[in-house]
């Protein structure tokens, strides 16, 4: 597991939902495979400066969606292998992510060139 989870306190989305979305993306994107263990509640809450209950809520939601399973003493693990999205689905999701990014960047007053540079800097 080399991925990172990010929580932005200025984002109006509640932290548990920010976490949930990232973990769903990681599981559906195949970066978290079946049986892989998620960080323990207290550890992740400490690292992100969140309440344990916030992370617990994220894990509960993922469990309800059938993406993870929790077992006493065994931690929380990815439940099922989710098929990778097709090329078409990937295109649709990318467009959605790009739209959200462009909207926020424009609100900051960024030009198209600056937006492109920022994306390139992140992807290299």
């Amino acid at each position: 597991m080399s991925s990172a989870l990010i929580v932005d306190p200025d984002d109006p989305t509640p932290p548990y939902e920010q976490l949930r979305r990232q973990l769903v993306d990681l599981i559906e994107g195949g970066q978290l495979v079946e049986g892989e263990r998620l960080p323990p509640l207290r550890q992740l809450a400490g690292d992100l400066g969140l309440a344990v209950g916030t992370v617990a809520r994220t894990y509960r939601e993922l469990e309800t969606a059938g993406l993870v399973r929790s077992r006493r003493g065994g931690g929380t693990r990815v439940a099922t292998a989710v098929p990778k999205p097709s090329a078409g689905e990937r295109e649709v999701r990318l467009a959605g992510l790009a739209a959200a990014y462009v909207m926020k960047a424009r609100a900051l007053g960024a030009t198209e060139a600056e937006m492109a540079r920022a994306v390139l800097a992140q992807s290299t």
Binding site: A4, R42, L44, G75
Partner: protein, 313 residues
């Protein structure tokens, strides 16, 4: 436990401690500093210095508390304090590590990131030392059970202070002090408290929040966690090995002093004296690891972080 045994141990312990100090400060292996790139994370370096400071404070306090326990608690308690002093020392060092870890928790500002990882105590434990300390703890438990079962009351009716042997219907021999229930019960309770303290400390080391998810920072942070975990295990080692050494030497000497002792007691006495000597070596090894802390000071120039390797002893 016994003044005579204490006097005997001094010439044995002094060279061992000198050896430990030499190994910590002047041996070639001790000159390997913790390589951290200062540009990587200033807060991490500051945290490392703070944690090292608290660890040294715990060590210094441990020496004072152990000395006071050994001296003051021995009056009227038949040297019970001397037996409890290693545990007092270990608990102080462990306390220093815990405070150090708690005071280095990073402040949270702006966007927070966390590596998607599962940290466990096993990731940071020094394997060889951990196994030695665990084996010593089990050995101490077994020996205390045995000496408790063999002990008898002394001439003033205090349970578990002497070892009796009925040589013939007309003659019996008594040797004391014997590490029976008079000594083993308080020592057992103290060591259990110490082991619980060590478990809490290791959990604190593992759960201390990281200040980010950058791979270099994660690797450097892991080195510091390993150093703290090593200090906890070494302090536990001093606690357990020094206690086991004391009990084994006292029991071994008592077993040898009985004229009509069966052959099994003689063999047991030799084994216990050997265990006692071996545990003195483990105690000095653990002391060396505690004293070696200063050599982990980060260097001011270093291109990269010593990714995950740290300084293992």
């Amino acid at each position: 436990m016994n003044v005579r045994i204490g006097v005997l141990l001094v010439p044995l312990l002094v060279p061992l401690i000198l050896l430990a100090v030499w190994r910590a400060w002047w041996s070639p292996r001790s000159r390997r500093p913790l390589e951290l790139d200062p540009s990587c994370n200033g807060a991490l370096l500051a945290g490392h210095r703070k944690a090292a400071g608290w660890r040294w404070a715990g060590l210094g306090l441990g020496v004072v508390v152990a000395a006071v326990t050994a001296v003051t608690a021995s009056f009227g308690l038949h040297n019970l304090g001397a037996m409890l002093s290693p545990t007092a020392f270990g608990l102080c060092v462990i306390g220093g590590v815990v405070v150090g870890e708690l005071t280095t928790i990073p402040r949270r500002q702006g966007v927070r990131t966390a590596a998607l990882e599962t940290r466990t105590v096993g990731d940071y434990l020094p394997r060889r030392l951990g196994r030695s300390v665990a084996a010593s703890a089990l050995g101490l438990g077994a020996l205390l059970v045995m000496t408790t079962r063999m002990g008898s009351a002394d001439d003033q009716g205090r349970a578990g202070r002497w070892l009796y042997r009925q040589c013939s219907p007309e003659m019996s021999v008594a040797k004391g002090p014997w590490p029976g229930s008079f000594y083993s019960v308080p020592l057992g309770i103290a060591v259990v408290v110490g082991l619980l303290g060590a478990a809490v400390a290791l959990r604190t080391v593992v759960l201390r929040p990281r200040s980010g998810s950058d791979p270099d920072l994660v690797a450097a942070d892991d080195v510091l966690r390993r150093r703290s975990a090593e200090a906890v295990v070494a302090a536990t080692g001093v606690m357990v090995a020094a206690s086991l050494s004391g009990v084994a030497l006292v029991a071994g000497i008592s077993l040898h002093g009985i004229v009509c002792a069966p052959a099994s007691w003689t063999v047991l006495g030799v084994v216990l004296l050997s265990v006692g000597a071996l545990m003195l070596l483990l105690t000095s090894w653990c002391l060396a690891l505690l004293l070696a802390g200063r050599r982990f000071a980060p260097v001011e120039t270093g291109a990269t972080v010593a990714a995950g390797q740290g300084v293992r002893r």
